[in-house]
Every structure is written in C-alpha cells, then in structure tokens.
C-alpha cells in the first residue's frame, strides 16, 4: 500500500520533471529542418519542446524513440519498412501503422513529399557519357562511386541496388554525406547517393539518375512519435501532414544550407501563418557559445570528478601489485585502446545509457581512468623503500601512513595523471555531440555536415582554448597542492 503510493507519487513527479517534449533528428540537413519545424509547431501549440539535433542514423534514432529518450523524430516510410520493420515488401501506411503500434510508436500521414534515395552525377559528366538512368551505369565500370556509410549498409542500399542493376563498379568508397558533395564537385568521385530533395543537387548542377527498374521504394516523409505522447503534442504534429511538397522542402533545405541556420529555415515554413510568440529565430553567437561551453565543461568536469574519485583508490590497490593490481591496470589500459567513437557506440545500446548525457559522461569517465590509476600506482611505487620502512618503523597506523606520508609524496605524479585526464576529456568531449549530448562538438558536427569551415571553427577553437586553459589551471594547482618540500 505504502509502496504503491510511493511509486505513483514518483511517477507523477517524474512526469512533471520530464515535461519538455524531445524531438530528435538525423544527421542531415532535411532532418534538422523537419526537427526545427516540429519544435516550433509544438511550442506554438503551447507544448514546451526541445530539439536534439543530428543524433545519428536511423538505428540510433529508432532506439532513442523506442527507449523513450526522445518523443518524436522525422522518418521516411521506405526506411521504416526496410530498416526498422526489416521487410523487403513495400508496405502501405496502414500496415506500417499497425506494425509500429506493437512498439508503442505512432506515425503521422505523409507530410506531403517523397524524399526518395537517388544516385546523382555531375551534369557535364552525364552528358559526356550519355548516362541518364541507373542502368546506363553498367556501361561505365570506371566511374568512382562514393556512398554514405548508411547507404552502404542499408537493406535498400548499395548491395541490393548493385545486384538488381548488375552494376560493375569496383571503386566504391564510404564518405560523409556533405563531404561527398564536395568530393563530387571536385571530381574525386563521380556518382554518389542523395536524397531527391537535397538542395545541393541544384547548387552543384547535378542530375538525378532515373531509377528505371523502380528499385527504390517510396520514402514519404512522416513523423514517428511515442503513442504515450501528450495528445496536444500529437495533434500539433498531425497538423503538419500534407503541408510540405517536394519543391517547398527543397527550398527550405537550400535556405538552411545557405544561412547555416536551421531555425531560420524552419521559420520560412510558418511564414504567412500565425507568428510564434516565442522568438524561434537563431540564438546569438555568444549565447550559443556559452551554452556549448557550459555543457562541454559539465561533460568533462563530471567525468573527471568521477575518474578522480574512483581512479585514485584503484591506483592505490594497483600499487600493491599482485593479480589484483595487474588486473586493474590491465583493464584501465584496455579501455584506453578502444577508439572513442566505438566506446560511445558500445554504450548506447546498454539499458541505463542510450542516447544521453549519461553515456557521454560514462565514456569520458572510462577514458580518464587510466592516466589517474597508472600515475597514482607509479607515484606510490616510486616512494623509496627506506622511506616506506621509516613510516612503518615509527609506528604510524596504515591509514596515517597513506594519508600523511604516501599520498603527499605521490602527489606530483597523481596530479599529473589528473591533468592528463582533464586535457584528454576536454578534447574527447567534442565527440559527445555524436550522441546528442551537446557541447562544443555540436558546431563541429554541424559544420562537418554542411561542409562549412567557419561553423567547424566555432567549436574547434573554443575547444582548443579550453584545453589550454585547463592545462594552465592545473599548473597553478600544482603549486597549491604539491607540498613545498617536494618542489625544492
């Protein structure tokens, strides 16, 4: 009885605390723009909403939605059938709706446009070779093909497409979507995958190769949302149905890429409609910078504090050698060898973690552990035997020996381990943006997506400065924390 009360109270409380609706988006321009449109639409409907931009690919977004870390995100019907429901059959919207309901997920009607996959080629090249359809590629095995990593792996992606058309090209590389356009423009590759509403198609004077064998299914844009989402939020999403045709979406995408401002592009959608009461226009740069920096410091700071709290005791155990010591140092060393991206990817599917700040902090914590453990252990092991014995012979208790003699004597080594961890964490925290945890990696990631150097530098320069400041602060800390007698 009492327990039931506590549970229902906790549930009520968590509902209150988790009030803002979270919209996710994938890592490409159109998804960002649709995410911003949804955020604005919900905010206008009086539903507090935030938008986690560019969280990753289909599987990450789907897991985030299924795992209740986000409430809605823009998706495409073809992708749902192939990647989420894993079927090769073309499904009707009603079939998809029934299948998704089992996961507690709902789907809107089409937003009004079909953003199908397509292969694109430079117009000049197409005219020179006389290529108009995908079938025509069969006669040109020398063409270099650059594809997004997602398209390379998709069930409706490169492998089945190649089998269906019998394409002979061997020279196929994986490349980021935005970088791929630059590569196409400068001739590093000849053919790439695209979304039919990409603004870059017109910008770079590319043509879409006709899918003459009708390989690609329909990719009608829709919103997926949790069925448990508050009804007014669902209603606001559904009001977006049928309001965007292909031409309009392409215009919005072009606007987003031209201005580097997704919020502004999304606001074009609402022009002529009711004006938003809250200013949905882009925040000022200083405001954004302070938001990124604060989050960055939060990620690096919390993970460092955890690494210190756990790393120093582990280092003390490790300094005693034996199987336990070797195991601790071995484990910490092993974690360090996992590439940071892979570590993030490994943590995301675990129950407690998912797409969240928690995951970023956990990964950074694991990274920061080794330098602290190793330096604590070696600092303690480097204390001369005669001094250890003097402490014992005096009759000091083991705790007093540790706190008054051993740790102060190892302080220089321990602090330098903490400094190393801090600098590593400030640098690695830029990767947290990959899983939607924000920080200075956010502009770096957006800049990579847009192939825009200025945006990249907006994140990269502050991140580098931050690392320098951290280094300098620790040099200062050395003077306070290392006993004077050891600095002579």
């Amino acid at each position: 009885m009492k327990l039931a009360f506590v549970i229902s109270f906790a549930a009520a409380f968590s509902n209150l605390a988790a009030s803002p609706v979270v919209i996710g988006s994938k890592k490409f321009t159109e998804s960002y723009v649709l995410g911003e449109i949804a955020k604005r639409a919900l905010n206008d409907a009086g539903v507090p909403t935030e938008h986690r931009q560019g969280m990753g690919g289909t599987i990450i977004l789907w897991q985030a939605l299924y795992g209740e870390q986000i409430d809605a995100y823009p998706e495409y019907t073809g992708t749902i059938a192939q990647e989420i429901l894993k079927t090769d059959r073309a499904l009707s919207l009603n079939e998809i709706r029934d299948a998704l309901a089992k996961f507690g997920v709902g789907i809107t009607e089409s937003l009004g446009f079909n953003n199908t996959y397509a292969l694109v080629i430079r117009r000049t090249e197409a005219q020179r070779l006389g290529v108009r359809t995908i079938s025509d590629l069969r006669n040109h095995p020398e063409l270099k093909i650059g594809l997004t990593h997602e398209f390379l792996a998709r069930h409706d992606g490169w492998q089945p497409l190649r089998d269906r058309y019998g394409l002979p090209q061997q020279n196929v590389i994986g490349i980021d979507h935005a970088l791929g356009y630059a590569a196409l423009a400068n001739g590093s590759i000849d053919v790439k995958d695209a979304y039919s509403t990409d603004a870059k198609i017109a910008e770079y004077d590319l043509i879409v190769l006709e899918d003459d064998l009708k390989f690609f299914p329909n990719y009608d844009a829709v919103f997926l949302f949790r069925l448990s989402l508050r009804p007014d939020a669902i209603a606001a999403l559904r009001r977006l149905e049928g309001t965007l045709d292909e031409k309009r979406m392409t215009t919005l995408n072009a606007e987003a890429e031209r201005t580097k401002n997704y919020t502004r592009a999304a606001s074009l959608y609402f022009e002529g409609g009711a004006r938003s009461t809250t200013s949905a226009f882009g925040e000022s740069f200083p405001h954004k910078l302070s938001r990124w920096t604060l989050r960055h410091l939060q990620l690096a700071g919390v993970s460092l504090a955890l690494a210190v709290l756990i790393g120093i005791p582990l280092g003390i155990f490790a300094s005693r050698g034996g199987p336990v010591g070797h195991t601790i140092l071995g484990f910490a060393g092993m974690v360090q060898t996992i590439p940071s991206l892979a570590l993030l990817a490994l943590l995301v599917p675990l129950p407690f973690f998912g797409i969240s700040v928690r995951t970023a902090i956990a990964a950074l914590f694991l990274y920061g552990l080794l330098p602290i453990v190793r330096n604590t252990a070696s600092g303690l092991q480097d204390i001369p035997r005669s001094l250890r014995e003097s402490a014992v012979a005096l009759g000091l208790s083991p705790a007093a020996r540790l706190w008054q003699i051993y740790l102060p004597m190892a302080s220089r080594s321990i602090l330098s381990g903490i400094k190393t961890s801090a600098v590593i964490n400030v640098g690695t925290a830029t990767l947290a943006a990959l899983i939607g945890a924000g920080g200075l990696g956010e502009p770096i990631l957006s800049g990579l997506n847009l192939n825009d150097h200025v945006t990249i530098l907006e994140g990269a320069i502050p991140a580098a400065l931050l690392a320098l400041i951290v280094q300098w602060l620790f040099d200062l800390l050395d003077r306070v924390l290392i006993p004077k007698g050891l600095r002579l």
């Binding site: 005669s386 001094l387 014995e389 003097s390 402490a391 014992v392 012979a393 005096l394 009759g395 000091l396 208790s397 007093a400 008054q404 003699i405 102060p408 004597m409 302080s411 006993p483 004077k484 007698g485 050891l486 002579l488």
Partner: protein
Amino acid sequence: MNALVELVEVSKRYTDASALHPTNLSAVCGKTTVLIGPSGCGKSTLLRLIIGLVEPDSGAITFNGLRITTGNIDMLRRRIGYVIQEGGLFPHLTARANVLLMARHLGKSHSEMRTRLMELCELTRFSDNFLERYPLELSGGQRQRVSLMRALMLSPELLLLDEPLGALDPLVRAALQKDLKEIFVRLGQTVLFVTHDLAEAIYFGDEIVLMNEGRIVQQGSIVNLRERPANPFVSEFINAQRRVALT
C-alpha cells in the same frame, strides 16, 4: 645485568642465498651494543627483526620480557627509536613536522611537544632556526641530527641505529660521534648500533658483537676480541681494519 631486548634462536632465510642462522643476542639496559661485520653478515637484519620490518622464520624476540608479535608491534615501535643511514626523513615535511609526526599522531599537547622539541634541539645541538627547513635544505649531518631527534621524541627505551653516520664526510662524522656518545651517556640510553667501522665500534661499544655470514662469531669487549680471537676470521677482521687505519 638485565636485558631489554632478547633474541632466542631467531633465524631468517631470504629468497637469495643469504640468511640469518639461529641466533641469540641480548641488549643490556643502559649499554651500547655494537654489531659489526662485513656487508651481508646479517647485522642490519637483526635490527629489522626487532623493529618488525621483517618477521623471523623461527625463534622469539622479547622486549622488556614481552614477546613481540604482529599484534603488539605497532605499540612497541613507539617505544623504540630507529635511525638509518640516509636518515629516512620525509621530504614533504619540515624538520619540525618530521620530529613531531608521531607525537601529533598520538595527540600529545602542544606545550608538551614544544618543550620536548626544545630539549631535543639542545641535546642534539640542532639550531631551532632550522626547524622550518625541509630535508633537502639541510646538510647530511643536520639531517642525521633531525632523524635522531625524531627517534628520541617519544623517549624510547631502546635506540636502534643502522650505520647512522655511514654517509657523512669525516669531519662531520667525528663531530657527530662525539655528540652521540655524550647523548647516550647523558640519557643512560640502551643502544643497538650497527657499523662496519671498527674504530667506531670501539668508540661506542660497551659490548662488541662480531658477525659473519649470518652468524655471531664472537662477542665481548674489544680487548677480549683482540687477545682471545675465537677463530682466524676474528683476528683477520680486526687486523685488516687496523692496517687500513695505520696506512
């Protein structure tokens, strides 16, 4: 003559071939017993056994009639002073903090500690102006004086000195020898003193214990050792050092 420390059939084997064979030894109250012999003969091991830095494989060690065990060793360590060749001072603590370390740990009062510290400075001829210095700011001789103060802080019944003057230059060494001897006499201190220098052994030793290869070879006064050597090693050891001293 009552013994303060007594070792009965104590032995210790190390992983390398060196070992202390079953040995009997006692340190008499108020006297200085000097352990002498070539390096590796086991003389330092005897001190380390008493202060509990190594545990004996067999035999028993008693302190004031009380058998030393792992249970009472920390309590007994506070009644024994221990000084090693390099001093063993903690580099992150000032001379004062080194000397007061144990007294603070045991929660002695400030006035008690200050009085004792001044006594010790006077006793060891250490200028109290240097008390705020760190070990690295002190000369070798000063460091050994601080180390001695630390060992004497709690007025120990027994003082263990393991080649305390071994690393000092001859002039400093001579001055400290003289001061140490005065201190021992003034305090009526029971001392176990390890050295490999015969002249030093003769200068300090009420009783000289000559060791070789993990065994006590002969024990007694220097006259005893010189006039009635127990075996050829004894006369060889004494004559070798005397020859060096004469040349």
